[in-house]
């Protein structure tokens, strides 16, 4: 096939000068073997290779569309779950608000009751204390007048007079009022 053998080639194929493509003597041979080759390729492709490839491609397509459908379904599920979650959250929030209000009201009630109780206790204690103070005051006034009478009597006696109980009483009463 190399250029060096052109001489031999030219000598041996003197009748085939020019383009080998236009040497029509070889055409039947070429056409025959070409058809044989094409028929074999056709059989190999259509009987074995192409059905296999077609089935693989179909399977892949089915797999992909199946996966896509599954993904779509999962996505919608996730969306539903999110919606449910949001709904639950909203409900919980409302519930919590209600509980807060109720608790506040209860606390207020308790507080009011406790305040009222405390007020009552305070006023009772105050009344008692007032009474005690009044008592103490009355006791003190009596003790003062008694001490004054005795002191006055003793003073009168010490000064050489006679203690007239009635007069002393009147005098002390008068002084205490004054």
């Amino acid at each position: 096939m190399s250029t060096t053998e052109t001489v031999a080639g030219a000598a041996g194929e003197a009748s085939q000068k020019g383009m080998p493509q236009l040497n029509f003597a070889t055409w039947p041979n070429q056409v025959f073997w070409l058809l044989v080759a094409l028929v074999i390729i056709y059989i190999v492709l259509t009987k074995i290779a192409m059905p296999r490839i077609a089935s693989v491609l179909a399977e892949r397509e089915g797999r992909i569309s199946g996966d896509l459908a599954a993904a779509e379904e999962l996505k919608s599920k996730a969306k539903a779950a999110e919606k449910a979650y949001n709904l639950a959250l909203e409900q919980a929030r409302v519930e919590a608000g209600k509980i807060i209000l109720a608790t506040k009201a209860e606390i207020q009630k308790d507080l009011n009751a406790a305040m009222a109780d405390a007020d009552a206790q305070i006023s009772a204690k105050a009344a008692e204390s007032e009474k005690r103070i009044a008592e103490i005051r009355a006791g003190a006034v009596q003790a003062v007048s008694e001490v004054a009478r005795e002191t006055a009597g003793a003073l009168v006696v010490a000064l050489g007079g006679t203690a007239d109980d009635a007069a002393i009483e009147a005098a002390v009463a008068a002084r205490l009022k004054g």
């Binding site: 493509q21 041979n29 070429q30 074999i40 490839i53 491609l57």
Partner: protein, 249 residues
């Protein structure tokens, strides 16, 4: 260049010679030739690729499986897109065409190999098969209405007979252009590389230039090998649309 090289004989067409694979006998229609060998290698390569690639049937494909699936979906989408849903039943046919042409083109780029698609006989058979399929399917599907594609109803009435004549001629030129486009491209690329290789053999140190040129052309030829297979296949789709699709004139 040839003068400078003295006795240099560049015969870029020699690589396309078809000779019997065994012995020297005359070439009969069944004699295995070097072309038969490379047709056989093409068949084997396609079979191995497609059988190994389609064997694992994994949902997540490996490398070879990816190649076959890529080939499959590439041609499948092309047929669906260009020919329409009606043409989908021609998908196996186009798959055979594309895999054969692209594999043969690429194998032909192996140094010392032989590209069956560089022969007009091969591409002519492929193109004639397409032409006959389109014509027969067209008449089978649409009956005499298939001739309607030559009658450009959107043109002024006066022009229609002339356009019909042009359309008719272009229809019959299709297999010619279809086959020569592929065969000519592959043949020209190989011949050019051979010419440069001839220069490289006699230029001494300066042969670095033709060698670099060969490398560049080789890259271009890789592209041409794939693009021409693609062009052949998509043109087949376009022609098939005339036969099965709605009239697009």
């Amino acid at each position: 260049m040839a003068d400078e090289a003295g006795g240099l004989v560049i015969d870029p067409m020699h690589q396309f010679q078809i000779h019997p694979l065994f012995g020297e006998g005359p070439l009969t229609w069944y004699t295995p030739t070097n072309q038969t060998l490379w047709l056989g290698i093409t068949v084997v390569v396609i079979s191995i690729l497609m059988l190994i690639g389609s064997a694992p049937r994994k949902v997540i494909p490996g490398r070879t499986q990816s190649i076959t699936e890529l080939l499959y979906t590439f041609i499948h989408d092309m047929v669906e897109e260009v020919t329409g849903h009606e043409g989908a039943k021609f998908f196996p046919y186009l798959m055979v065409l594309f895999t054969f042409i692209v594999t043969s083109n690429l194998l032909g780029l192996i140094p010392g190999s032989f590209a069956p698609t560089s022969h007009i006989a091969v591409t002519a058979v492929l193109a004639l098969m397409v032409f006959l399929t389109v014509t027969l399917v067209g008449f089978y599907k649409k009956g005499i209405g298939f001739l309607g594609m030559f009658w450009v109803s959107s043109a002024p009435l006066v022009l229609r007979p002339i356009l019909a004549l042009i359309e008719l001629i272009s229809y019959f030129v299709r297999p010619l252009s279809h086959s020569i486009r592929l065969g000519g491209n592959i043949m020209a690329g190989h011949a050019v590389m051979k010419v440069f290789a001839g220069f490289a053999g006699v230029m001494g140190l300066a042969s670095i230039v033709p060698i670099a040129a060969i490398a560049a052309i080789y890259g271009l030829e890789l592209l041409v090998a794939v693009v021409q297979a693609y062009v052949f296949t998509i043109l087949t789709c376009v022609y098939l649309r005339d036969a099965v699709g709605e009239a697009h004139h």
